[in-house]
Symmetry: C2
Subunit: 71 residues, 2 copies
């Protein structure tokens, strides 16, 4: 599985679990909504510092965004 | 700990465990040696696809490069 898809799938699940829409999550944490949408779809290739910032917004360890999602 | 430092520390340990120098590792897997050196020092901010390529070269899961290193 492509790492972009892996991070995107994890982000979508973890962001949904916070109860925030993509738009609210982006607004509250200073991201562009279309950027978050692109990462969730696996269409973006973010740097590790961007993924770290997202992990901090989710209050999780960055490693969780790289875990192999359940099929 | 900065994610760049975390990935760099893990890469240095895992690459050393293969018995390859930075130069050999880079040569054998098509990376620039100075780029690998920069990542190991935490001076670079690679994209997740670059980190994935490095994980494939190390024959490990990409998640291992994001694990919290032992202090």
């Amino acid at each position: 599985m492509d790492v972009r898809k892996r991070v995107g799938t994890n982000l979508r699940r973890l962001r949904s679990e916070t109860g925030l829409s993509q738009e609210r999550f982006a607004l509250e944490h200073g991201f562009d909504r279309t950027y978050i949408s692109g990462i969730e779809r696996g269409a973006r290739n973010p740097t590790i510092q961007v993924v770290q910032r997202i992990a901090e917004a989710l209050e999780i360890d960055v490693m969780e965004l790289f875990a192999r999602p359940a099929e």
